[in-house]
Assembly symmetry: C2
Homo-oligomer: 110 residues x 2
């Protein structure tokens, strides 16, 4: 239905961090939230999501804790660490610069 999401490359981490910046969430909810708030423009495959979460946890930019979801299911909640906030700031800035550069090239009508 929608795009090749290969674009995500290098962006997923930032998206996850940003999603968590409004409070802890479990993995499934992160994917849901991203897809919902972008009206399906972003599709987060579970095969990308969980490895990404694991990476981020290992680098201590997020931390995990088992809990119970809104629907009463066992779920692992992730929260941003201070390092995570710092990294989010930096990644966001990188994205902004990159996106601006690409848009400057791509969007002008020739």
């Amino acid at each position: 239905m929608s795009d090749k999401t290969e674009h995500l490359h290098g962006t997923l981490d930032a998206l996850i961090l940003k999603t968590l910046s409004r409070g802890p969430l479990h993995g499934y909810a992160i994917a849901r939230w991203l897809e919902d708030t972008t009206d399906g423009a972003l599709v987060i495959e579970e095969g990308s999501l969980y490895p990404a979460l694991y990476r981020l946890e290992k680098r201590r930019v997020i931390e995990a804790e088992w809990g119970t979801s809104e629907l009463g299911r066992r779920a692992k909640f992730y929260a941003l660490t201070p390092r995570g906030r710092a990294e989010l700031r930096q990644r966001t800035e990188e994205w902004a610069r990159f996106a601006a550069a690409v848009s400057r090239v791509l969007l002008p009508v020739t």
Copy 2:
């Protein structure tokens, strides 16, 4: 000096096509032009560029012809095919949607 350009993933093809949309250029000039017009925000490594050009040529969205550069050197000039123009349109649209979605998530201050 500048960013990790890993972001390029999936975007390089579109950037090349767009660069060629203003007329044939040789590989080296494509990289130069992209870096210049983005003030160095985009850095195109030759190890990414030439494989990309080869891919695009094989898919017949660009075609190559040997010629002579402005400086009198042997150089391979690439030109957009009709299929290339179509693909450029499509890729540009995809990028726009993707970038809009990511920006919508990433840029709001929380």
